[in-house]
Symmetry: C2
Subunit: 375 residues, 2 copies
């Protein structure tokens, strides 16, 4: 019997798919809703290839309340939600903010309404380190602890802060209401996971990030430079106050991030703490130039880049202080930047078209022979 | 010909109806959308009685995008929106936060989407002093200036901050986009009006606040104590750090508030400043006990009250520094607390059932004879 059943919104996306894999690997049943706006159903095949189990899938947008209601009705065993579904391009969020507010904030309100109707009261929310904005503005806040003042510098970050607030207010109101009525108020719990820069891929080489359209994160872009699909990497600003002038980020391997979600979910189910925020990061900051160097080393040659203007809303340093998650969730990152680079390169080399093409047959044979995959 | 045509959301509500009156009195045409959830169509009759003009009315909820689209399509002459429609009970917002987020935040996103589709690009938004939260937490911030850090202490306040952010991001994005395309970017403008405690009624005695259900603001409650409909006033806390222990608020006569909206709208249309926030308040703080005394004086007898616990989310002092609005909008309050108390009492005495009953025939005759009303 399953440990529990989790609805994963955005479960075919990058972090959603890896978290689904971690959940299935740890005895949970998973139901996914995803609009497929920026992801592919092929992620389901890869998940099944790797772990031998397939999540249930519905193509439902989180702004579609009737669609969500229908999924909850069909799966009364769902006891928790991990909520990834969102628009996530920082630059685009400054161009079409209304759409970001409608989908991210409006969609989260809709999801919570539907959860409430179906008595599902645990939610792990995919927040972001961008809620802190430019933490260097406040002395002593790098690496960033959870009590760093909130102050996002872009619309994407604003949506994350708003959703954190909506979840917190809702859960606290439900707890007060249930407590007053003498009902079990402890069932309402929320984890706000503020994560830093997810990167890397599955070590098998058959599962990774596959953004539709132009990617906007550093490592996927470097991957496309390495394959020749892009002629150079654009570095947004080399006039930051870092050692080499480029912006500092805390890169976290997607497998570590997925295990962080699992740890948070287990914590909610066991400790029933109400609403809590945790940073998921390595605690180690790397500059853009350091990342270029690390990835170039894995690829075996120097990758071309060009320095251009800073991007609107970008900040100098986003390095996590992950002490709270280390302690309370008994979780910490295990994989290195070198692991992430090697895994990403294996993914990119074997899947130049991402999920739009099957992985090489010889790779699959090798993986099956070595029992690195279960199916 | 009209100066312009304004869509007023929530135009049958308290402040919405007085602003509609001010707009009509100043040459604007007005189209109202209102759900009538907490207001009455009778407000339209009173507006017409007083000024001789009747706004166009549609019963449309701001969360209904097709309904809004239909209104904009029928009225291509609408060039600006004054946006009041919202759930507004602070206490209730802590009990059903999701509904507040859905209606207030979701509804505002929907309204802006519909405006964008119909090229309506001026918005005056009914924000609130509650966005500042407990300004006494920061030295030197009473009376409160617009640059006081934002920090609401309740869900209602959170919704106002979120809507301010959505409007700001949207207008700034549209300006950037239009500027880049060489188009007239100045057409996108927004006024965030943070107002303090609206009170009072029309001096004619036929138009005022008529909340459905139990009122939750001080003067309307005092009115109901004076008529005997309620046996006493509940005073929420007398242990605040004020001179008499009760909370301090900046009461502003609804006629002054309405003229502030008109001033902000004219400013947007003339100066095209982008997005700006203004406090609308008198700059004078009064305690609950002072208000009881002032209203008792108008009524001619002491009104009974009982001190109970503080309300969740209430703060010590919300007094405005209205210098910016005084200067930029060339607007300031003209009416006193005594005016507000006298006008409210005239409204309550003549309309014990609010808009559910016509005003006394002799009052109407008298008003017509003295030309205090135009119809």
């Amino acid at each position: 019997m399953a440990v529990g059943t989790v609805l994963v919104t955005g479960g075919t996306g990058y972090i959603g798919s890896f978290t689904t894999l971690a959940l299935l690997d740890n005895g949970y049943d998973v139901v996914i809703v995803d609009s497929l706006l920026n992801s592919s159903k092929a992620a389901l095949d890869r998940i099944e290839l790797i772990c031998g189990k397939r999540p249930t899938f519905y193509q439902v947008d989180i702004t579609d309340e009737a669609g969500l209601d229908d999924v909850f009705s069909k799966h009364p065993d769902i006891d928790s939600v991990i909520h990834f579904a969102a628009l996530k391009a920082v630059g685009e969020s400054g161009e079409i903010p209304l759409e970001y507010y409608r989908v991210n904030v409006g969609g989260s309100i809709t999801l919570l309404r539907s959860m409430a109707k179906h008595n599902v009261s645990n939610i792990v929310f995919s927040s972001s380190a961008t809620v802190y904005g430019d933490a260097t503005r406040i002395p002593g806040m790098i690496p960033i602890p959870e009590n760093c003042p909130i102050g996002p510098t872009n619309t994407y970050g604003h949506t994350k802060v708003m959703i954190e607030t909506v979840i917190s207010d809702h859960i606290e109101a439900e707890r007060r209401k249930a407590k007053k009525a003498g009902k079990p108020f402890e069932q309402w719990n929320g984890a706000l996971l503020r994560y830093f820069n997810p990167c890397g891929a599955h070590p098998s080489g058959i599962m990774g990030e596959d953004p539709q359209g132009v990617p906007y994160n550093l490592l996927p872009l470097l991957g496309k430079v390495a394959t020749g699909e892009r002629d150079k990497l654009l570095v947004f600003g080399d006039d930051y106050a870092s050692k080499d002038g480029t912006a500092i980020r805390d890169y976290i391997h997607v497998l570590d991030l997925a295990s962080g979600h699992l740890a948070a979910l287990n914590y909610l189910r066991e400790k029933k703490p109400g609403v809590k925020a945790w940073n998921l990061g390595s605690g180690r900051g790397s500059t853009v130039f350091e990342m270029i160097k690390a990835f170039s080393k894995v690829v075996g040659r120097d990758l071309p880049y060009q320095v251009v203007d800073r991007r609107l809303g970008d900040v100098l340093d986003l390095t996590a202080n992950p002490a709270l998650a280390n302690e309370e969730l008994q979780w910490k990152t295990k994989l290195t930047l070198e692991d992430a680079c090697a895994d990403l390169w294996r993914w990119v080399e074997n899947n130049p078209k991402g999920y739009r093409q099957d992985p090489p047959a010889e790779l699959l044979e090798k993986l099956k022979a070595s029992k690195a995959v279960k199916n």
